[in-house]
């Protein structure tokens, strides 16, 4: 029998969620529908009234508004009215015809029937953003060909439990234990605490060559307080660490510091060889700035490779940060070689996105110098040094900060004591600029030099900031201010005001999440730097719900990933990387999930601005 009302049936069959329905259900659907027409400008649904049907736009478009604020714009094939149906509550929004609009409506009972018999319909209408974003990430990052170092964490490398011994066993006993187990190193443990490591190299150099009697306790020849690596670190980070320090064994510790194993160069050799590691090795060999710059231009290529290998944005950010750090360190070593030793103890710090390890390609540089309290900030050496490093980074493609937040600016070269005073002032008398600086300063990571200077400073600064309601209020205001777009409409980016844009500035969405995470982390007194760790810290302190944390983390990953993919493609085409994505070049799935990500950000901003105290 021929299908009656084929026009309606085929139209529904072409749009989600109806596209997932079996043929016989689709055949039956049109006879349950009612058609309606809305003249441009007329009200289709009024907020507060009960709505007993689902609307599907057959042609034309409607605007969904909350008061005077545009919430969404729905074009042909899109649905509205489902929130009232699902919640069985009055509709929340006004719906106005933006154009002359023909509507297909489906009564509540039939929608209920579809929802209960077809999970895909239920998912479409009721699925949380969380689920959809998860799917998006899953689909975006389907591994095609594996690059193990970018995905393997150290925990996955651990095979056999490490050989351990207390510090008072003799060197002979220790050597015998190693030989029996067939390993080249032994962890020295005291009360379940790692106090040292003994390797074949130690036995050769510190025992045999030094003629130390083999009955001496192992404590005397071990390497005390060894460098460790966290179990969650990437294999790539371990490679960088080992290459940088010329060591071959790294004890692996858990979050609480307890030893869970040992990773060796042999473990890593099993993983494939990869560019970034060689780049770091090559960087260390460069004897002039030109050589460093030449190597720096390989970074976009590496990011492109990582994107094509489906590494996560978070991992790519860590790799990029490690490479940028290596460049910076080499530039500093070259500068020190040229200018002579520094006139005091210092630490070079990365600020902003570089500190959070969330840098995009083509971003500008933010950095500063923290001096020991006994160093003289007025010494001209610091300025010359900073200029060399900053101009070197500039030559490497990191533009100078337009706000002059750089170590070349004397304002951003202070002793620990002066930084403390400065930050206290920003916290107590915040003005718009000061808030920006405080926010930048709060994202601070030691890159080179005496890192202890920065550790102490950050602890104080975070404690101070978390107590300053005024600073928190300003940061909250900043985080809630720049709203991401609503979504897409006919290939354009749809903004709050209802206007269209040709391109999407994806940075707006990313920085919104960054700011939200910063406020929450500061409030929780957390020292975490990366956005995902800050969100996790906020959740651990009960500041954020588990759902909101997952949503924001996923939204952030999605936005960051799409930006990296966009920038890597630009770099491949020889274009300078930017943040402007053409919606026409996004797949429909990316668009849908971007729209969900925007919604998550907007919800979080709304929540933030209503829960935290307003600016007095």
């Amino acid at each position: 029998m021929e299908v009656e009302l084929a026009e309606v049936r085929d139209f529904l069959a072409a749009h989600p969620p109806f596209d997932s329905l079996p043929g016989e259900v689709l055949d039956d659907l049109p006879s349950r529908c009612t058609l309606r027409y809305a003249r441009r400008g007329s009200l289709v649904l009024r907020a507060g009234l009960t709505n007993d049907r689902l609307f599907v736009v057959r042609s034309g478009a409607v605007d969904i508004t909350d008061g005077h604020r545009l919430v969404d714009r729905v074009g042909s094939g899109g649905s509205f009215g489902m929130s009232a149906l699902i919640e069985h509550a009055p509709t929340r929004y006004d719906v106005t015809a933006r154009e002359d609009t023909l509507l297909i409506t489906i009564p509540q009972e039939d929608v209920d029937q579809l929802i209960s018999s077809h999970p895909t319909v239920a998912v479409h209408f009721a699925a949380t953003h969380h689920d959809r974003i998860r799917t998006a990430l899953g689909q975006l990052q389907q591994p095609e060909r594996g690059s193990a170092v970018f995905r393997t964490s150290v925990r996955d490398l651990l095979r056999v439990p490490p050989v351990m011994a207390p510090p008072d066993v003799t060197i002979t006993q220790a050597a015998r234990a190693m030989a029996d187990a067939g390993v080249s190193s032994l962890l020295v443990m005291e009360d379940d605490r790692l106090v040292g490591i003994l390797t074949d190299r130690d036995l050769r150099r510190r025992v045999l060559a030094a003629e130390v009697p083999p009955d001496r306790p192992v404590r005397e020849v071990m390497t005390g307080r060894p460098v460790t690596v966290r179990a969650g670190a990437l294999a790539l980070e371990v490679m960088l660490e080992m290459t940088g320090r010329n060591i071959h064994h790294l004890p692996v510790v858990d979050e609480d510091g307890s030893v869970v194993g040992l990773v060796t160069t042999t473990d890593l050799v099993r993983l494939e060889r990869s560019n970034p590691v060689y780049l770091v090795t090559d960087l260390a060999r460069q004897t002039d700035v030109d050589g460093v710059v030449r190597l720096a231009y390989r970074i976009p290529r590496i990011v492109d490779q990582l994107v094509s290998e489906d590494a996560s944005a978070q991992d790519i950010g860590r790799v990029t940060a490690a490479l940028t750090d290596a460049i910076t360190v080499r530039l500093m070593q070259l500068a020190e070689a040229e200018l002579g030793p520094p006139p005091g103890s210092y630490c070079w710090v990365a600020l902003g996105s570089a500190a959070r390890e969330e840098q995009a390609l083509g971003g500008d540089q933010d950095n500063a110098i923290v001096l020991a309290d006994d160093a003289d900030p007025a010494d001209p050496w610091w300025g010359r040094f900073a200029e060399r490093v900053v101009s070197g980074l500039e030559a490497c493609g990191r533009e100078r900060c337009p706000g002059d937040v750089m170590a070349t600016n004397p304002t951003w070269r202070k002793t620990v004591r002066d930084w403390r005073v400065q930050f206290a002032r920003w916290s107590h008398e915040p003005e718009p600029d000061a808030v920006l600086w405080a926010a930048i300063f709060y994202d601070m990571r030691a890159v080179h030099g005496d890192t202890a200077l920065v550790d102490g400073l950050r602890e104080e600064v975070v404690a101070l900031g978390s107590r300053s309601e005024l600073l928190l209020a300003y940061l909250t205001g900043q985080a809630a201010r720049h709203r991401p777009p609503i979504g897409f409409f006919r290939g354009f980016v749809l903004e709050d005001a209802g206007e269209h844009r040709d391109t999407l500035d994806i940075k707006r969405g990313i920085s919104a999440v960054v700011q939200i995470a910063r406020v929450h982390a500061l409030r929780a007194g957390s020292l975490a730097l990366s956005t995902s760790e800050r969100l996790a810290a906020a959740r651990a302190r009960g500041v954020l719900s588990p759902e909101a944390t997952t949503d924001l983390t996923d939204a952030f990953e999605l936005l960051s990933y799409l930006r990296l993919r966009h920038q890597a493609a630009q770099a491949r085409d020889g274009l300078p990387p930017d943040n402007h994505i053409d919606p026409a070049r996004l797949g429909s799935l990316d668009r849908r999930h971007l729209r969900d990500a925007f919604q998550i950000v907007r919800t979080a901003q709304h929540w933030l601005s209503t829960r935290l105290p307003p600016v007095p």
Binding site: E4, E7, S31, L102
Partner: protein
């Protein structure tokens, strides 16, 4: 003139009498309270005396909405060959040979003309002359009598809407598709009696929205009824 002349003959009891017994809507009834029936016919030609009625497409309009549950596509077994019109409608002899003959189909059509109440539905069609003449001929051939129907012709409404607007009258200007385009209604690919009945009903809703905007008040049946 509609089917008024047929009233002079006595109507035998049955579906046609049911229609005749149902009161019509007064002209000053708010349009939102009027029940209409959009009708489109497929025929083998334009002359009811020599051409056959092949199928009825029907859909009601109620409360300025189109409940598709009431949509019907009724095919008629012709007495002769379908001829060339098969090319236009896609209705082949084989399909139609399995359909019931007109005397079996017509009662169902007449039945849909009676709304609960009972009220006599207003006939809605685009260029309604074809529908009224063929329907009259069908009633006469089956029952030997007819019934008066109120008629809304979307072509007439369109003319009224455009009277105040400057427009260039081109060939096909008042065709259903062209009218729908002017009201930003979607284009339908296939044409069948049912598709066109639905298309006509949609056009009617769009026209009413525009007319109401122009009048600045809710419409009455009189605003759209064929004189």
């Amino acid at each position: 003139m509609a089917l008024r002349d047929l009233l002079r003959r006595p109507v035998p009891p049955g579906p046609l009498a049911d229609v005749a017994d149902a009161p019509t809507f007064p002209r000053d009834t708010p349009l939102a309270e009027v029940e209409l029936l959009a009708l489109d016919l497929e025929t083998s030609g334009l002359d009811p005396r020599s051409h056959e009625l092949l199928s009825f497409g029907l859909v009601p309009v109620r409360g300025m909405e189109i409940p598709l549950a009431g949509a019907r596509h009724l095919r008629v077994r012709p007495r002769g060959d379908v001829g060339d019109s098969a090319v236009v409608h896609g209705l082949t002899d084989d399909v139609l040979a399995q359909a019931p003959p007109l005397p079996e189909v017509l009662p169902e059509v007449l039945h849909t003309l009676v709304a609960p109440g009972p009220r006599r539905r207003v006939l809605l069609a685009h260029f309604a002359q074809v529908e009224t003449t063929f329907l009259r001929a069908a009633c006469r051939s089956v029952y030997g009598a007819g019934v008066r129907l109120q008629v809304v012709d979307t072509l007439e409404v369109e003319r009224r809407l455009l009277r105040s607007e400057p427009h260039e009258l081109t060939r096909g200007f008042f065709r259903l598709d062209a009218c729908r385009r002017r009201h930003h209604l979607p284009r339908y690919r296939a044409h069948s009696a049912l598709t066109d009945a639905v298309a006509c009903a949609e056009l009617f809703l769009a026209q009413c929205a525009r007319l109401e905007e122009r009048r600045g008040r809710p419409l009455l049946l009189d605003d759209v009824l064929r004189p």
